[in-house]
């Protein structure tokens, strides 16, 4: 599924927006008196385009999908109201660990990103970085009205209206906010999709990267980071 995309618009979008001071090239005095050049864009980021994760053949892929489905590690980044229902999930009453779901503190260890509600532009920028830092295969679960069509904040100047323009979403859960039970059911649905090999949104993101980047850059005014964050 390729999204329609205007190449000319992109080149405009890609014009460098200003870089944050901490991302500019700087010189640091080492304790021994030598001067070290630090270029954060080169030193901290990878400048290469991401690659699609091609499925393996036959039984191997099935086995991998089963393994992936039964071990969903969720990034502990609560982006909106919905994150208030994460603690009940991770405590004894609902106990998501029995479904193979657990919270992780850093993107490098996680493969599920719960966008738990509205995303302000400022958070969207961090969410994109976090998402891109997650290793493939990765999945996004979107909670509540806000991620679908703006929800409560449909007319707010600072929150996005539809998440699927900026990040690829595998599963949507209705509600404002969805209850823990609905969230567990959402994990169930995601598992099904993974087992059937249908949770391919991360690859779609890479296929349509330019379209997503253009959308992201349209609203993130100070894009002071490289285009790819992995």
């Amino acid at each position: 599924m390729k999204k329609d995309f205007d190449k000319d618009a992109l080149s405009d979008m890609y014009k460098d927006k200003f870089l944050a001071p901490e991302n500019e090239i700087r010189f640091v005095n080492a304790p021994d008196g030598s001067i070290i050049e630090v270029n954060p864009l080169d030193d901290y980021f990878c400048q290469e385009r991401p690659k699609e994760l091609k499925p393996r053949k036959g039984v191997v892929e099935k086995f991998l999908n089963w393994a992936r489905a039964e071990s969903l590690w969720v990034l502990g980044f609560g982006t909106g109201c919905g994150s208030i229902e994460i603690p009940p999930l991770s405590t004894p009453r609902f106990d998501m660990y029995r479904f193979g779901v657990q919270m992780r503190a850093t993107p490098r260890q996680s493969n599920v990103f719960i966008i738990s509600g509205y995303l302000s532009v400022k958070t969207l920028k961090r969410a994109i970085r976090s998402y891109e830092q997650m290793p493939s295969p990765k999945y996004i679960i979107a909670l509540g009205s806000c991620t679908i069509n703006g929800g409560m904040y449909w007319d707010s100047y600072n929150t996005i209206n539809r998440l699927d323009h900026y990040l690829p979403v595998d599963v949507y859960i209705a509600g404002c906010m969805p209850r823990p039970e609905a969230l567990l059911a959402g994990f169930g649905k995601l598992k099904e999709l993974i087992k059937e090999g249908k949770a391919e949104k991360a690859n779609e993101y890479i296929q349509n990267l330019d379209w997503y980047k253009a959308n992201q850059k349209k609203i993130i005014k100070d894009w002071n980071m490289p285009d790819y964050n992995w």
Binding site: V121, K122, G150, S156, N158, N161, R162, D222
Partner: protein
């Protein structure tokens, strides 16, 4: 509150007195007199706690209202001091020397209303927004719905009908 307002009246030219309830009153004072009044109330009348500072945009009158709400922790009363400033030249003397917390409010007002407080610490750093490049959002002439529709791709495909107009078009289209 009435007593206090009378005492203030003897020292400062205030008007628009609104004795809202037993523990709350609002007064208005000229821009130049406001900070001295606050300082005076803080030092001599026990209004040592600062509650909030916010602005109201009276766009029809082309002015901003700044409300300094201060409270007296001894007798549990609150006093709102209104100051009206010109909307075109939105600038106010900073009060950060009076309370340690007030610079945050001033920084927010600078960002969200575009009211400048020269000399207030970190007043030019962005506080809530990031890379905002149009008019400050809390001003009345900023239309948040329009901005949202232009910027954030509302999901298309919805349409609605007004019952009265719909009935007219179906039942008596020619009238």
């Amino acid at each position: 509150m009435k007593q206090l307002v009378e005492i203030i009246q003897n020292h400062f030219p205030i008007n628009d007195i609104d004795l809202r309830k037993k523990s709350l009153a609002f007064i208005s004072i000229h821009q130049n007199q406001a900070i001295p009044l606050l300082e005076w109330l803080k030092t001599t009348h026990g209004y040592t706690a600062f509650v909030l500072l916010t602005a109201v945009d009276w766009i029809e009158e082309n002015r901003f209202q700044l409300t300094y709400l201060i409270s007296n922790p001894e007798n549990f009363t609150e006093l709102g001091v209104r100051v009206f400033i010109d909307r075109e030249k939105a600038e106010m003397v900073s009060a950060h020397h009076l309370w340690k917390s007030i610079w945050v409010y001033q920084r927010e007002l600078k960002e969200m209303f575009g009211i400048n407080f020269p000399d207030s610490p970190r007043v030019n750093e962005s506080f809530i927004l990031e890379g905002w490049d149009t008019i400050p959002p809390y001003r009345r002439d900023f239309d948040t719905k329009q901005y949202s529709e232009e910027t954030y791709f509302p999901r298309p495909g919805r349409s609605t009908n007004d019952p009265a107009k719909h009935m007219k078009s179906k039942l008596y289209p020619k009238d």
